[in-house]
């Protein structure tokens, strides 16, 4: 075993050590994993379909209808569980895609510099300032039937700019380091340098960017669903809130209809953000001494 790999291994152990002792990281992870389990196994506890009219209208939570029923007599728990699944999917696909695009553009712009950097910068700035939901209105008008996948991809395609900016800045500071110079002198191809020399050195950064994008995508999706620009098929937490508001759940006092979906989103995204602070403390020794 060479000294460097030994060092790397030691460092990894150190991260695990601090990760297991970081309360923020642990609490955040427990909340997210709990919701993930509910999303995956929740449908086992219900025999209804999300949009099926199954019971009495506007009934408060009971042993039969755990989260009550909607104004139309749909089971809120079923909608909640299925919506939760959609939430995680949008987060994973949308957030993943946004991180991936942000990484690619950030790496290339930062490493190449010059005209490539300038032009990518212009593109980044444009995507940054055009409100993405405005474009979605147009897409929504074109596609009468839209799925969850389309929404996730759209979010991924519009949410990447800040990640690209941050990664570009990191790449800029890394590319003048000696080990990158060494790689360049030894004739390594730029793409290989980026992925074997630069990317591993900012892994913590990439993980954190993904977590933030995951949470951000969930929030964007909820907003889009709420104004009716989300998927036209299936159910989601944003859609539940839209239905609740449209059908007067507020005035009728059907709190069980609109509280669970928003609370779940706030809890998941909040937990992700708190996990992120925890991770920051794990990776950055300066922040640890608290």
């Amino acid at each position: 075993m060479t000294p460097t790999t030994k060092n790397a291994k030691k460092k990894r152990n150190e991260f695990v050590y601090f990760a297991l002792r970081n309360t923020k990281l642990k609490v955040g992870a427990v909340v997210v994993i709990t919701f993930l389990i509910v999303a995956m196994l929740g449908t086992l506890f219900t025999e209804f379909e999300p949009r099926e009219y199954v019971g009495p209208m506007s009934e408060a939570p009971s042993s039969e209808y755990w989260f009550g029923t909607t104004f139309f007599g749909q089971d809120v728990f079923t909608q909640f569980v299925v919506g939760l699944r959609a939430t995680f999917m949008v987060g994973a696909i949308g957030g993943g895609l946004a991180t991936l695009i942000g990484m690619l553009i950030g790496f290339v712009a930062g490493y190449r510099g010059g005209a490539v950097d300038e032009s990518l910068n212009v593109v980044t700035n444009i995507v940054l300032v055009v409100p993405s939901f405005a474009i979605l209105i147009i897409i929504a008008a074109y596609l009468e039937v839209r799925g969850l996948m389309m929404e996730s991809i759209f979010i991924g395609l519009t949410a990447w700019p800040w990640t690209a900016r941050a990664i570009r800045a990191q790449t800029l500071s890394l590319k003048s380091r000696e080990f990158v110079d060494m790689a360049r002198i030894s004739g390594m191809k730029p793409m290989r340098i980026i992925f074997t020399e630069i990317a591993p050195n900012m892994m913590s950064y990439l993980v954190m960017a993904f977590i933030l994008q995951f949470g951000g995508s969930i929030l964007i999706a909820a907003t889009l669903d709420f104004i009716g620009l989300g998927p036209t098929t299936g159910i989601s937490l944003g859609l539940m809130m839209q239905n609740a508001v449209n059908w007067g759940a507020l005035q009728l006092g059907l709190w069980w209809w609109f509280i669970p979906p928003g609370a779940a989103i706030a809890a998941i995204v909040g937990a992700l953000y708190i996990m992120n602070v925890g991770l920051d403390e794990v990776f950055n020794p300066k922040l640890r001494e608290m």
Partner: protein, 328 residues
């Protein structure tokens, strides 16, 4: 500094150009005949439909080539002509927008600026103050993770329905006519408070957290330790940390604008607050493409202008840019 503004201005111009082009495409590239679709969906009276069909075909200039339509659109735009609303026929879109814009400014400007200011102050104050930090952190994260409309729904339900303190629909009571009197002003303020509070709270959480994290980074920087070692009072060290930490927060404000605008949109929907967001939703639901076009244009211009203002502020707060030490 000239280079800095030159580049920024170029990007804004290109963005504006692209955005207007997309805007132009909204009604023209809809599947099928947009005019026919629109009139069928709007289900207006037959005589009105005929007049409108004639009007729109002429407004589209469907007999002239596409490039000319595009040029005409720009010319009309600079004359403030955005077409006629279908949903609020026969009002011109520009007039409909003009009626909504004051509500948006009235709601958004205080919410954005106050939450930014208060969040930064509070975040800086709470950083490294053990007890505040332990309470602020979770609350701030939950607030910033809360979907705007859900907080709006909660506030509306709690204060509008359960406690019945605040009204939850419209910008003023239906029984009132806009006029200058204390009763009316009070009524408007009461309608304004809950939408404002929900926008403010979500923003406040985010800024407080951001500032708290930035301050901790700055307090761990070498210059802070150096100042501490020299025996500088804690207050002075924090002051310098704050000045450095405020820069990313200014940039953050520019980055967040799109999200805030979307948040304002859904908040207006929850409270039926008659701003651009509420109008846009009505336009989408009624397939009123000209109104959508107008709202879109307003939002784009507003976001671009705000970005430009933030760039100017950045020059004021960051001496390095003023002295031309960094390009961007």
């Amino acid at each position: 500094m000239r280079r800095y503004f030159g580049r920024k201005l170029l990007i804004y111009l290109v963005t504006f150009f692209l955005a207007v082009t997309i805007d132009w495409m909204i009604p023209r590239f809809m599947p099928g005949n947009p005019v026919q679709n629109m009139l069928a969906r709007a289900s207006v009276r037959p005589e009105a439909a005929e007049a409108m069909y004639g009007y729109y075909t002429k407004a589209f200039g469907l007999d002239v080539p596409v490039w000319k339509q595009y040029l005409n659109f720009w010319v009309a735009l600079f004359h403030g002509d955005l077409g006629t609303s279908v949903y609020l026929f026969p009002q011109p879109v520009s007039k409909v927008l003009r009626e909504s814009i004051p509500y948006d400014i009235f709601l958004l400007l205080p919410a954005i600026l106050l939450s930014w200011w208060a969040g930064n102050k509070f975040g800086a104050f709470a950083a490294r103050t053990k007890r505040l930090d332990n309470t602020l952190l979770p609350i701030g994260y939950i607030l910033t993770a809360t979907p705007y409309m859900w907080l709006g729904i909660l506030l509306a339900w709690a204060f509008g329905v359960v406690f019945d303190i605040f009204p939850i629909a419209g910008a003023y009571s239906f029984s009132m006519q806009p006029h200058w009197s204390w009763a009316f002003v009070w009524d408007v303020l009461k309608h304004w408070f809950l939408p404002f509070a929900s926008l403010f709270l979500v923003g406040f959480g985010g800024w407080a957290i951001g500032m708290r994290n930035m301050i901790i980074y700055e307090l761990e920087a070498d210059y802070s330790h150096y100042m501490e070692a020299l025996g500088a009072p804690r207050k002075l060290v924090r002051k310098y940390a704050f000045r450095n930490a405020i820069l990313p927060q200014v940039t953050g404000l520019a980055l967040q604008l799109g999200v805030i605008v979307a948040g304002a949109l859904v908040t207006e929907v929850v409270f039926s607050y008659p701003g651009i967001g509420y109008l846009l939703l009505a336009a989408i639901q009624n397939q009123d493409y000209f109104l959508i076009q107008g709202c879109f244009l307003f939002i784009i211009t507003g976001v671009l202008l705000a970005n430009f203002l933030i760039d100017i502020v950045y020059v004021i707060v960051d001496p390095r840019i003023r002295r031309g030490m960094v390009g961007e």
